[in-house]
């Protein structure tokens, strides 16, 4: 990966951004890396975000989701053109928004009218003439209306403060129909006593036709009339969706293309774009192999009106260089599980392949059974929708389980159906445990080697040599293991092993002492404690691999438990117990083993060499990749 600075004329900045996006090999630097200077694309980015938000809303409202193909020779809009697009989109969205708002209100009004129809029916049955009740020359100031039922108590209490009475005469859904009555003030205005109280409580006046008392059927006519009035009003405002969509459709599709073309500069403006006066500077990263191609593309388009500076990352770039992560198709499903831990730093060992291989192997070893593996395989192949990404991981785990099942000679727990290629775990548990520890030793040694490689790549020689996770850690680990093996087999720890392990321990302590700050006493304490901790951790992590054997034994033990329960039941019960028992084993134990395998990978493996704090290389592109700092 090379650090690049691309200088171009400010007047050609959007074309330059577009070229970089079409090239697909330029990843903008972060804002901090881009350096000081003006932000030439800031306003452009704001316009783009406003315009694209409006366009998305319009398209969503009009139910249009067809893709907009971008021609190879299409050019990006400049700032003035983008402002024009935004303005026109604003006008269209305001029309859409007004129409949308009206539709929502209409829906609310329709609900209200439906409730009102019933209410009028009850009102007309009362021995009261509502029209007279509401007359403005009466002694009482009376209003009929509806409010959200949730506000009833509070409004009733508040009205009583002003000497008003609230009575509910009907309810429909979350609305209550009420009469509010109180003494009329001298000028006849309710507002004097109540202020904005009714509005605050969500009050809606109830229109009462004067003929309601004399001719109840008039309520039905009144409501029908209201409904028709609403329809007419809505139709008048909804020209865009119903009549003018065709008129705007062509332009809106064109606007979508133009905004796609404007996106690269908007994205750069947030990240690696700076500039001063007539010059703009794109700062970012380009894979080494793509620099020549990028230079040719720039030359062909700008004929020397650019300057491309490319250099190797410097010491200041440590931790900032993005990692270009490309994987073969079959490995991609596993990378999600690696990403959930983190992204490797630039130059670091990418653990995706190691993860895929080890994870599947560990799962198979812990869950080895031909039948259960086959169930997993079929189940994984049937996964669809949002779990589809697990299809390949599950299938691989199922296949590994089948392979180990063949080695163990187990089919749904029955160990006499096939001849084992190796042996059943329960036939020699000690051997299983020894093998598990051996696999742990191998795994941890590999992770220490990877860590040494990563430290050397980062130029951290002292850490690579003296750290507990470096060469001295590995030497200590192997020497101590060799000594322990000798002690357990009766040949003794061995002088050589002892000397080598002690020397490695001393070297680690010196390394830690040099690295830590503070007084000599503090350094000694840190060196002593941390060296001991590192040594203990190495062995504790190795013993953690005992779980591989433990789970393979557990698998057999669980099936034996199922068989024991089934043996105590009659024919039908026996069959049911066997089936249910196997379902429990596949679901429960399968899930636990999947988690345990992941835990071994993360904590005993990744934590030793993989900080996961790298930055993924995300090149500018015409496709949406959400580098704009907005939630989509």
């Amino acid at each position: 990966m090379l650090r690049v600075e691309l200088l171009c004329l400010a007047s050609e900045v959007q074309e330059c951004a577009l070229l970089l996006a079409r090239h697909g090999g330029f990843g903008p630097a972060t804002r901090e890396e881009a350096g000081s200077g003006g932000r030439p694309g800031e306003h452009y980015r704001e316009l783009y975000l406003d315009a694209s938000t409006r366009l998305d809303k319009i398209m969503e409202y009009c139910g249009v989701h067809d893709p907009a193909p971008v021609q190879d020779d299409a050019i990006a809009p400049n700032e003035r053109e983008l402002a024009g697009i935004d303005e026109r989109l604003r006008t269209i969205w305001q029309a859409c928004s007004g129409c949308h708002e009206l539709e929502l209100r209409m829906a609310e009004e329709k609900q209200r009218l439906a409730a009102l129809r019933e209410t009028y029916g009850r009102l007309s049955a009362l021995d009261v003439d509502p029209a007279r009740l509401l007359r403005r020359d009466g002694l009482l100031n009376t209003r009929l209306g509806q409010i959200p039922a949730v506000n009833l108590k509070r409004l009733g209490d508040a009205l009583s403060v002003a000497g008003y009475l609230l009575t509910v005469f009907d309810r429909a859904g979350d609305q209550a129909f009420v009469v509010v009555a109180g003494p009329r003030s001298e000028d006849g205005r309710v507002e004097n006593r109540l202020g904005g109280l009714l509005a605050q409580a969500g009050w809606r006046d109830l229109a009462v036709p004067p003929e309601l008392r004399t001719d109840p059927s008039v309520a039905g006519h009144f409501i029908d009339e209201e409904g028709r009035r609403l329809e007419v009003m809505a139709e008048g405002h909804c020209d865009l969706r119903q009549h003018h969509w065709q008129q705007h459709a062509g332009w809106l599709r064109q606007a979508r293309v133009l905004l796609t073309l404007a996106r690269p500069l908007a994205e750069s403006a947030l990240l690696g774009l700076s500039g001063k006066g007539q010059l703009a500077v794109f700062s970012g990263w380009v894979p080494k192999r793509a620099v020549g191609e990028l230079r040719s593309a720039l030359e062909a388009r700008f004929h020397g009106r650019y300057l491309l500076l490319a250099h190797e990352p410097g010491p200041d770039d440590t931790g900032k260089v993005p990692s270009l992560l490309t994987y073969p198709v079959w490995l991609r499903p596993f990378t999600g599980l690696v990403r959930s831990y983190g992204v490797p730093r630039y130059g670091e060992f990418d653990p995706a392949l190691l993860f895929a291989f080890s994870y599947v192997l560990l799962f198979g070893a812990m869950f080895g059974d031909v039948g259960h593996g086959a169930v997993l395989l079929v189940g994984a192949l049937l996964l669809r929708g949002r779990f589809a990404w697990l299809r390949w991981v599950g299938s691989a785990a199922g296949l590994a389980s089948i392979c180990f099942g063949l080695l163990y000679g187990s089919v749904f727990g029955y160990e006499d159906w096939i001849v084992p290629l190796w042996q059943s775990p329960l036939h020699d548990p000690t051997r299983m445990l020894a093998l598990a520890v051996a696999s742990g030793v191998g795994f941890i040694s590999v992770t220490l080697l990877i860590n040494i490689y990563n430290r050397l790549s980062a130029g951290q020689w002292a850490d690579a040599l003296l750290d507990g996770g470096g060469l001295m850690g590995l030497v200590l680990y192997l020497a101590a293991l060799s000594g322990l093996r000798g002690a357990m087999t009766g040949t003794g720890f061995g002088m050589t092993n002892g000397l080598v392990a002690s020397a490695a321990l001393a070297a680690m302590a010196v390394g830690l002492g040099l690295k830590s700050g503070g007084s000599m006493g503090e350094r000694l304490v840190v060196a002593l404690v941390e060296t001991m901790e590192t040594a203990i951790n190495l062995f504790a992590n190795t013993l953690s691999f005992l779980r591989v054997a433990a789970f393979s034994l557990n698998h057999v033990a669980l099936t034996l438990a199922v068989f024991t329960i089934a043996a105590g039941l009659a024919t039908a019960g026996h069959g049911i117990a066997i089936v249910l028992g196997n379902v429990v084993i596949v679901v429960l134990e399968g899930g636990i083993v999947a988690i345990q395998a992941l835990r071994l990978m993360y904590y005993e493996g990744f934590s030793r060499f993989f900080a996961g704090d790298g930055v993924e290389f995300r090149p500018l592109s015409l496709a949406v990749n959400n580098n704009l700092g907005v939630k989509t």
């Binding site: 938000t53 009205l159 202020g195 904005g196 509005a199 009050w203």
Partner: protein
């Protein structure tokens, strides 16, 4: 176990509260000493705020400190207690909602609006980017009705559509938030005990009385509307008492009709700012007592957060006052030091 953890945490945090004499020392400190003093008390964030020229970022930094401490205190909490504390810090997001509405009413640009909003980090629940880019207040409110704040916003939209009065909007939003707080607190109170209820009483009664006085005598709203905007049922200010108080004709008459406990606390006070300041001080004294003596961890947590927020706002007042070169006595008056 969880209670012991939380109690220990709160006790450790207690040392972060600034005693009055240290605030006083901060007022008198030399300009060069100030950032050092702040850093010594673990307030590096505020030291940065003192150095730069953006006063709003000081508020953002205070919120950031509060959120970080709340995040730690939340760890051992589960169930209703956790929900209560999460709701307690939702105040900051309600404040963002109000900022969004005001900005949209004023036709502010997106960048100006963004600068107004508090960064709530992981506690953010609103998609502020999308909300800032709506066309008008109506669209904003409609969108807010599809967020976690639907309950708070629904009434406010209708009230605003009828009146187009920003005050009504603010008052309705505030009331809806505190109604939710009281509801949650009442459901927890039997489990936690009197100390927790008294903390809430100090807060809610202060809010109720100050709102009542402001709405009634500063904004001139009629008694019925003022009553509707208050938090009922309150604590010492019961609905019956509030009905009496809203009908009074001036501040003096309201103060004379207060229940004994509040009347004693407000003896010698006769203006609305004095009422607010005195009641806040009383509530903080009570919070300090709860923090020192009560054994229920949630009550202590709430007391700590109240005191911490008040303390940080005092520090902000000191920093702002110094930056504006206000007389030392005025700064002392502002923070009560």
């Amino acid at each position: 176990m969880q209670a012991a953890y939380l109690n220990t945490r709160v006790t450790l945090f207690k040392s972060r509260l600034w005693p009055g004499d240290q605030v006083s020392a901060l007022i008198d400190a030399h300009d060069d000493e100030l950032p050092v003093l702040l850093e010594q008390h673990g307030l590096k964030l505020l030291a940065g705020g003192y150095v730069d020229d953006d006063p709003r970022s000081l508020e953002a930094r205070i919120v950031s400190i509060l959120l970080e401490e709340t995040r730690i205190l939340l760890r051992p909490l589960t169930g209703e207690s956790r929900q209560f504390l999460l709701y307690w810090i939702e105040r900051f997001e309600v404040s963002n909602v109000k900022s969004l509405i005001r900005a949209k009413m004023a036709g502010e640009t997106v960048s100006a609006t963004a600068a107004r909003l508090l960064d709530l980090g992981d506690f953010t629940r609103l998609d502020a980017d999308a909300l800032m880019r709506v066309e008008d207040v109506t669209e904003l409110m409609r969108r807010l009705e599809h967020t976690n704040y639907a309950e708070i916003v629904r009434n406010a939209r209708q009230a605003f559509e009828d009146s187009h009065d920003p005050f009504i909007l603010d008052a309705t939003l505030d009331r809806a938030y505190y109604d939710g707080l009281i509801r949650r607190a009442r459901s927890l109170a039997p489990e936690i005990g009197a100390s927790f209820e008294q903390l809430l009483a100090g807060l809610i009664d202060r809010i109720n009385l100050v709102w009542l006085l402001r709405y009634r005598f500063n904004y001139g709203l009629p008694p019925a509307q003022v009553y509707y905007l208050l938090l009922t049922p309150g604590y010492r200010l019961t609905p019956e008492r509030l009905r009496v108080l809203v009908a009074k004709e001036d501040v003096k008459a309201v103060l004379a009709a207060l229940p004994d406990e509040l009347a004693r606390a407000l003896a010698g006070v006769d203006t609305i700012p004095e009422v607010a300041a005195r009641l806040e001080q009383t509530a903080l004294d009570h919070a300090r007592a709860v923090l020192d003596r009560t054994d229920h961890p949630l009550a202590r947590t709430l007391a700590y957060l109240m005191l911490r927020e008040s303390g940080l706002r005092d520090l902000r007042a000191v920093l702002r006052g110094r930056r504006l070169a206000l007389p030392v006595d005025d700064i002392r008056l502002a923070v009560g030091a």
